[in-house]
Assembly symmetry: C2
DNA sequence: TTGTTGAATTTTGCATACAATTTTGTATGC
DNA sequence: GCATACAAAATTGTATGCAAAATTCAACAA
């Protein structure tokens, strides 16, 4: 994005509200299936119903909410079938991001990713989950950014929001965790060698494994 | 989905309006970049501003409109750069749809696609473009349907809506047209042999060529 | 107890009203 | 003539009001 001109970001109320509710849902503030009465949200956010309803419509079109006519909004649930549907699509998009990133990444960004990676590895060896997951996500975001395709980024971000990361990252098995770190090491190698097809393959595999982890976490919750 | 119970589709006004405006934009009723004042749309559709604004927010989140704070809605334009962004993503999604379709398609649906295909070929030999394009799109939709992944279908449909306007007006060159038909023949072969990777490769190539066609059409319009 | 009926309450859908911002048009100065 | 300044009109953003639908809950019957 341009940094020379100050991007005067004038946020309308409905935009701010959309983002806030989206964050709340993604972070698991409301359990799946729970109702979100307009009145409650209005009071919580200190706004009227008009901008709130505009936000709800957008979030529903993103698949984060389910709107039933005359029955209000519910937080969309996530079944194992939903996950089986989501992950192949996310896998295809991440694979593409890997291919594009290999073609377009700069040494600077690669160095940034490398730094993030080794910091992440450190947190793994220490068994510190929250910072590990934070760095993990940052790395994937950096790769997406390196692909320089906002449409791709938007599509991926939209789908990934539906997984509601916060809920499922808490309990990862040690064996799967170690495997994920190994996959990340392979990713770094492929990126350094600008080996697009290999990175694509690794990312697809990585996502597939993540899919199983999320499904296991889902089953554990029930 | 359940088909035993009648799926009572109760359309809210904002839903109907969203769909109508979306169709109007996709079919080119409003030129790209043109303003869409709320007052005009309200009078055209015979509704008040509340449901209209909800529809506009959704269409903007789909990328069909651009909303500037306090400045209203404009029909999103489509630059060559946008097309270069869109097609790799659509290519990745279509490739996935091909792989999944090969794994899941039934003989019945394959027969339907075959019928559509040969009808399409007929229109090609006769030089009849509109019915050709219609059948072409139907075939791609059938493949998506055969993949049985609504999330994938939704993601693809969303992106494809942004370029459909260009596709309508596309004056395809005879040489490219023949090439497209050959690619479709390959697709049918790969589907019949349930050769997922090959179908994925063909579709990716097909989309890449389509990208160039659309860019040429865009350049011709300007 | 359990299930059903129906009125009261709540909640949603849409329209309208008001405030804030932008756009338009006109007059004035150079 | 051209640019600027300012007022008027139009447009958008938000809040509120009212009608329709759904939910709740209490009374009643089996």
């Amino acid at each position: 994005m341009s940094e020379s001109m100050a991007p005067i970001e004038r946020h309308s109320l409905h935009d701010v509200v959309t983002e806030r509710i989206r964050d709340m849902i993604v972070e698991g503030a409301y359990p799946p299936g729970s109702r979100l009465p307009e009145r409650v949200l209005c009071e919580t956010l200190g706004i009227s119903r008009t901008p709130l309803r505009e936000a709800l419509k957008v979030l529903a079109s993103e698949g984060l909410l389910e709107l039933a006519p005359n029955r209000g909004a519910r937080v969309a649930g996530l079944t194992a079938d939903d996950v089986d549907e989501l992950f192949p699509v996310m896998g295809a998009l991440e694979a593409l991001s890997g291919e594009l990133a290999c073609a377009r990444i700069t040494e600077t960004v690669l160095a940034e990713i490398r730094a993030l990676h080794y910091q992440m590895v450190l947190h793994h060896t220490r068994g510190e989950r929250p910072p590990y997951f934070s760095l993990n996500q940052q790395i994937h975001e950096k790769i997406l950014e390196a692909a320089r395709n906002p449409t791709l980024t938007a599509a991926y971000t939209n789908l990934s929001g539906r997984i509601r990361r916060a809920r499922y990252t808490a309990n990862i098995a040690a064996s799967r965790w170690a495997q994920a770190v190994r996959e990340h090491e392979e990713m770094l190698e492929a990126l350094a060698e600008r080996d697009g097809p290999r990175l694509a393959e690794i990312l697809k595999r990585h996502l597939h494994n993540k899919c199983e982890t999320v499904k296991a976490a889902l089953a554990a919750i029930e």
